[in-house]
């Protein structure tokens, strides 16, 4: 190749490169990016479920960017921050998160995030969206922290009413709660149901609330009391270790009282910790979100889409469903905010306003959540609340009931 040919080729390549470069800034200018701060616990008490939950969240943001975001020229940029499920850690990280990301929304994980940021977010005008059920202590009007599900006590009360109907007869259902004072959230779960039982003695006869350690030494004695009292259902919304210890305590007493778990300590997690799902045959999980069972549901179909086209690697279980449902209602709210305010200049305040302006339909969350109508009165929807019930049948998780009504639980 002669010098001139080389020079000509070089010139052509340079011109082509310049043309590509010239077109790129135009594309970048047309694309608006908004940041989301993801609070995560990869090394604390929920480290076991975090990679799966994070996988669910992130796959939805990727899906939104590749579909709706691409259409309207918006990218949702996200970054995980390790909180170790520790309120002090969240509080110390927050100023850095704000200055680094300037997020339009925070994707929260649990009680410590609420405790650390409840007072700060209204000042910073950034809303936080949770995946879990709500907490009684955070049940305040004009909140900046939101839950797609009612409180844990709403969920357990809904389940217990459903169980009483299934049982039939007139008397109240005899119930025991296993809780722990290790976390304010755990106490809150018990207190709300205690109040509901007090006010509805015809529905629930609360035989005992047992407080124990997060890794109990032995619950044989406590379970003996529960069995002797004729308990018909045991509510454990704390963690898997307490479920395992209670199950062993019941087995030692030769009893098989159905246990109701929540989403974060549900059937797959507790079954795994017990050595097999078959050990939880006849036990339940109940929450206001789709049950990750084998049945072909819209939620399952959307999960399959995320796996096939958007790189989701997490298995189909309740934890993945939590992550997916959380991210789905967040992108739905952001979508509503963009519809109302345009693509440019979106702020956290606009996102919060959009939450109250229009319901998030169950279609928008692909059946993962019921239709959510938020109001400034509470951090979670006060109307149209439903829970779904899953159980273990023949060693497999199956949907036992969907759309079970949640009763009116008074604020405690």
């Amino acid at each position: 190749m002669s010098y001139h040919t080389k020079r000509g080729l070089r010139g052509l390549l340079t011109a082509a490169a310049l043309a590509v470069a010239a077109s790129m800034p135009m594309k970048a200018q047309a694309e608006t990016t908004y940041n989301l701060a993801l609070l995560s616990d990869f090394s604390g008490p929920y480290a076991d479920i975090m990679p799966v939950l994070a996988g669910g969240r992130e796959a939805v943001f990727t899906w939104w960017n590749e579909t709706r975001g691409k259409e309207i020229g918006v990218t949702l940029n996200y970054k995980n921050y390790e909180t170790r499920y520790d309120a002090a850690q969240v509080a110390s990280l927050w100023p850095g998160i704000k200055s680094e990301l300037d997020p339009i929304a925070v994707v929260g994980l649990g009680g410590p995030d609420v405790a650390a940021l409840a007072e700060r977010l209204p000042e910073d005008k950034i809303p936080m969206f949770m995946a879990t059920a709500a907490y009684g202590y955070a049940w305040q009007p004009e909140s900046w922290i939101f839950n797609p599900r009612p409180t844990y006590s709403h969920e357990s009360a809904g389940f217990l009413n459903w169980m009483r109907e299934q049982r039939g007869g007139d008397g109240p259902l005899k119930v025991a709660i296993l809780a722990s004072e290790a976390s304010p959230a755990y106490v809150d779960m018990a207190k709300g149901l205690e109040l509901y039982a007090e006010e509805h003695p015809d529905e629930i006869d609360l035989v005992e609330v047992i407080y124990t350690e997060v890794q109990p030494t032995d619950l044989t004695g406590q379970m003996r009391r529960v069995v002797r009292a004729g308990t018909e259902a045991l509510i454990i919304q704390t963690n898997t270790s307490i479920v395992v210890a209670a199950k062993r305590g019941l087995q030692a007493n030769g009893a098989n009282i159905p246990i109701m778990m929540s989403s974060h300590n549900g059937l797959p997690a507790s079954g795994g910790a017990l050595g097999g799902l078959e050990q939880l045959e006849g036990d339940f999980e109940a929450y206001g979100m789709a049950i990750a069972a084998d049945e072909d549901t819209p939620a399952r179909q959307f999960y399959e889409t995320l796996v096939a086209d958007h790189g989701l690697e997490a298995p189909w279980n309740v934890v993945t469903a939590m992550g997916v449902s959380q991210a789905l209602y967040i992108v739905a709210v952001i979508d509503h905010a963009i519809e109302a305010n345009g693509v440019e200049g979106l702020t956290g305040e606009m996102v919060r306003e959009a939450l109250f302006a229009k319901p998030i339909t169950t279609e928008e969350t692909h059946g993962f959540l019921p239709t959510l109508t938020f109001t400034p009165e509470a951090p979670f929807p006060l109307e149209g609340l439903k829970v779904n019930v899953g159980t273990v049948k023949d060693g497999k998780i199956t949907i036992e009931a969907t759309g079970v009504d949640v009763p009116d639980v008074k604020k405690w």
């Binding site: 076991d48 407080y211 124990t212 004695g221 270790s241 395992v244 087995q251």
Partner: protein, 294 residues
């Protein structure tokens, strides 16, 4: 009345489990005057070793238990060699601070090596309880209680009647003086850590048999702390009595007071007893009273 007696027996057996874990504190303290804050983490490490040899390697319990105890001993030895041997002759405070660092390091190591998942712990002791008429006694706690008493008798004899045990006591008194008398300070402290790690692994087997294994299990270290301080940090035999008293008090509170108050006073009672006894007798029930001549 029968249930009341049953609760006392179960409480005493839980107390003996605390005594076994507290034995790890005492053995290390007697040899080095170091209070090991990472004792709960040694329980977890022991638990993960048992889980690994049984559930991952698929060894039978007859093989995995002795192998786990040997591996735990090696971990204890390695900890002492890597982190503590260079501090011999330095202030006790430095060594204690190292154990605080060790607590964080071991938690991190567990996460790194085994991941965060909650795991089913092998069933080492039969799940079926022992029935004495209407009374029900968990088998893991019953057999664990027997093991604890045997271990306490054996260790008391070792520390009080054998030359090696007495050498370890001399080391605890003063590293420099013991060394000048020809006693291997390094060897004594290393042996104490090996023993501490083995006792923690036995404690993990009793505590976690048939339950789940996570790093939350390290909380047993804090539960055993009142027993160790109540007994006095030098007394192995005293741990048995202290464990039984604290276990029974906790059990009766949990079963009879907690349902009345709707709280968890049972988990606080051991610390109340510990503080009360320390106010009256700062060295604990059976701790050594040191007279220093100036």
């Amino acid at each position: 009345m029968l249930y009341f007696i049953n609760d006392i027996i179960t409480g005493a057996l839980i107390g003996l489990l605390y005594s076994l874990v507290a034995m790890g504190f005492v053995v290390i303290y007697r040899a080095s005057k170091v209070f090991n804050f990472a004792q709960g983490e040694l329980v977890i490490i022991g638990g993960f070793i048992v889980w690994f040899t049984t559930m991952q390697l698929g060894l039978s319990l007859w093989l995995s238990i002795p192998l786990s105890l040997i591996l735990a001993g090696l971990v204890g030895y390695a900890i002492e060699r890597i982190f503590l041997t260079k501090l011999i002759g330095e202030s006790v405070f430095s060594m204690v601070m190292v154990t605080v660092g060790l607590l964080i390091l071991l938690r991190g190591l567990v996460l790194l090596l085994f991941g965060p998942a909650v795991r089913p712990f092998p069933i080492i002791f039969p799940l079926k309880p022992l029935f004495l008429g209407d009374m029900l006694i968990p088998m893991n706690l019953l057999l664990g209680g027997i093991i604890t008493i045997v271990a306490a008798v054996g260790l008391s004899w070792f520390f009080n009647r054998t030359r090696s045990g007495l050498r370890m006591t001399a080391v605890a008194e003063d590293h420099v003086v013991a060394s000048s008398m020809g006693i291997s300070v390094k060897g004594s402290i290393a042996f104490a850590w090996v023993l501490g790690a083995i006792l923690s692994t036995i404690g993990a087997m009793i505590f976690l048999s048939g339950k789940s294994l996570t790093f939350l299990a390290s909380d047993i270290g804090f539960a055993a702390l009142p027993v160790a301080l109540f007994a006095g940090l030098e007394s192995i035999g005293g741990l048995i009595l202290a464990g039984v008293i604290i276990g029974v008090a906790q059990s009766l509170t949990t079963n009879y007071l907690d349902p009345l108050i709707g709280g968890s006073l049972g988990s606080v009672v051991p610390y109340i007893i510990m503080l009360a006894i320390l106010l009256i007798r700062p060295t604990g029930l059976f701790g050594w009273r040191t007279i220093e001549r100036v």
